[in-house]
Amino acid sequence: MRYRSLERLTIIFAWLTGLLLLSAVSLLLGYLFIKGYQSVNLTLIFGDASPLRAILLQERVFNGLFPAIVGTLILVLLSVFWAIPIGMATGIYLAEYASPRAKRVLDAFFDVLSGIPSIVIGLFGFAFAVFLHKHYSDRIGPCLLISSIALSFLVLPYIIRTTQASLEGIPRETRLTALALGATKFQNIFLVLIPRSLTGIMSGIILAIGRCAEDTAVIMLTGAVASTGLPRSLFAQYEALPFYIYYISSQYADRAELMQGYGASIILILLCAVLFSVAYGIRKGLTHFALYRP
């Protein structure tokens, strides 16, 4: 009888916490959309420029979010581009090749890495940029490249851990299937184990994308600025949505500017949604390709 009521209590508690979480999310999103939906329009993105000409890079956008959107997109893609090969290779090494001792040591390292606050990584990136500036070239300073490298450090642990975990989660029978058919260890990993783990690995990549898109601490120290237009090269400063949101909400002069901050937040969330859907699409396609390619 006592266990019965305990069980009931647990269920009620679980429901309540779920409900709390759901309402927190919907409250946040709802608040944002109610506050900001009016300011989301083409003028917010393109300012006085013509949208088509701005997208075709024929006209510069001075007072819109377009450069920040492009900056964030490029930043995310670059960071993930650096982090994926290194992270996956590390994860594969940890799951398949590392000796128990090496694994223990590296595990500790990566735990530390995932615990480093992003502002510290930003500071490190900044110091790195200053170092390059002093010792190699005056032209190098905080820039898109430095930011993306620093961000890739921030998200490496996600990709390493998900790769490792999904490889290690493969049951022994599956592991032995290809080996019993004469596969080498390398063939087994790349023809069977990795394709089987793609779903898990992609979840790590999706997490990484979200983190790269929203992180502000790293980029404000390594190259993001409030206004510079579209990034001209990897070595140029750039605009980014999260930095814009931070900047506008701390420095706004009037209500209209604050509203632009809300608008930018909505756009950032939409951008993340788009990136997530693309990643999901790629995940589906990749898994299918890996397993069924002719």
């Binding site: 592991r175 299937t177 290809a178 080996l179 019993a180 058919l181 004469g182 080498t184 063939q187 023809l191």
Partner: protein, 234 residues
């Protein structure tokens, strides 16, 4: 007429995490016969199979002593000798597991998988070998029109025959089966037993089985394991 010996195992000891699984096992298996390995579960039958294709080496904390010689390409070879690559060994000593384990791919790609591993690229040859293997495994007529479907959509018995076809596609000399019918119904079991009897002309078969009936139906020889030792080897 006594058949030729195919597999010779001498003084085999095996332990896993310091627990002895096999102890002083010495046994021989004749060529082109079906030998049934019986005994209670945990007696070391499956482990014994894994010592014949070195699959245990992929399991951490396992240790083995002793010699295993198999007549491969008409010549007795120590399968643990460094001059025999383990991947080559496993192409000649094929394994079918207890639970059918098709890879998550199409039927065609499952059977073609070992060919792909050994670098066979000619599409014509691959198709020919796939058909041959599937026919040998008595599965061709059931799947020939849907080779590109996901192998996991087949029934359990069909999946197991697919795994046998996959094991046969490289034309091995020895086939190891670890309770291949334990997850199948009676009809599928009968189909696989017939298949094994048919295959006996081509290769040497070792099958772990729990069913005395099955052993009686198909085995030429019975080897019984008890606590990691062999008690009867007539």
């Amino acid at each position: 007429m006594t058949p030729d010996i195919k597999i010779r195992v001498a003084d085999l000891n095996f332990s896993y995490r310091d627990r002895t699984i096999l102890q002083d096992v010495s046994v021989e298996f004749p060529e082109k016969t079906i030998t049934a390995l019986t005994g209670s579960s945990g007696a070391g039958k499956s482990t014994f199979l894994m010592t014949l294709n070195r699959l245990w080496e992929n399991i951490p904390n396992a240790q083995m002593q002793g010699t295993v010689e198999i007549k491969l390409q008409n010549q007795f070879r120590d399968i643990y000798a460094p001059d025999l690559a383990v991947t080559e060994l496993r192409k000649m000593v094929a394994t079918v597991f207890q639970v059918p384990n098709p890879l998550p791919m199409s039927i065609r790609k499952n059977v073609a998988f070992p060919l792909k591993l050994s670098g066979e690229r000619s599409r014509g040859l691959v198709d020919e070998k796939i058909e041959q293997a599937l026919k040998m495994a008595n599965l061709w007529d059931e799947v020939k029109d849907r080779l590109n479907e996901d192998a996991r959509n087949l029934s359990g018995g069909q999946q197991q025959r697919l795994c046998i076809a996959r094991a046969l596609v490289l034309e091995p000399e020895v086939l190891l089966l670890d309770e291949p019918t334990s997850s199948l119904d009676q009809a599928s079991t009968a189909v696989i037993e017939d298949l094994l009897l048919k295959l006996k002309d081509r290769l040497t078969i070792l099958i772990v089985s729990h069913h005395p009936e099955q052993v009686k139906r198909i085995a030429d020889k019975v080897v019984e394991f008890t606590d990691g030792r062999i008690i009867t080897a007539p």
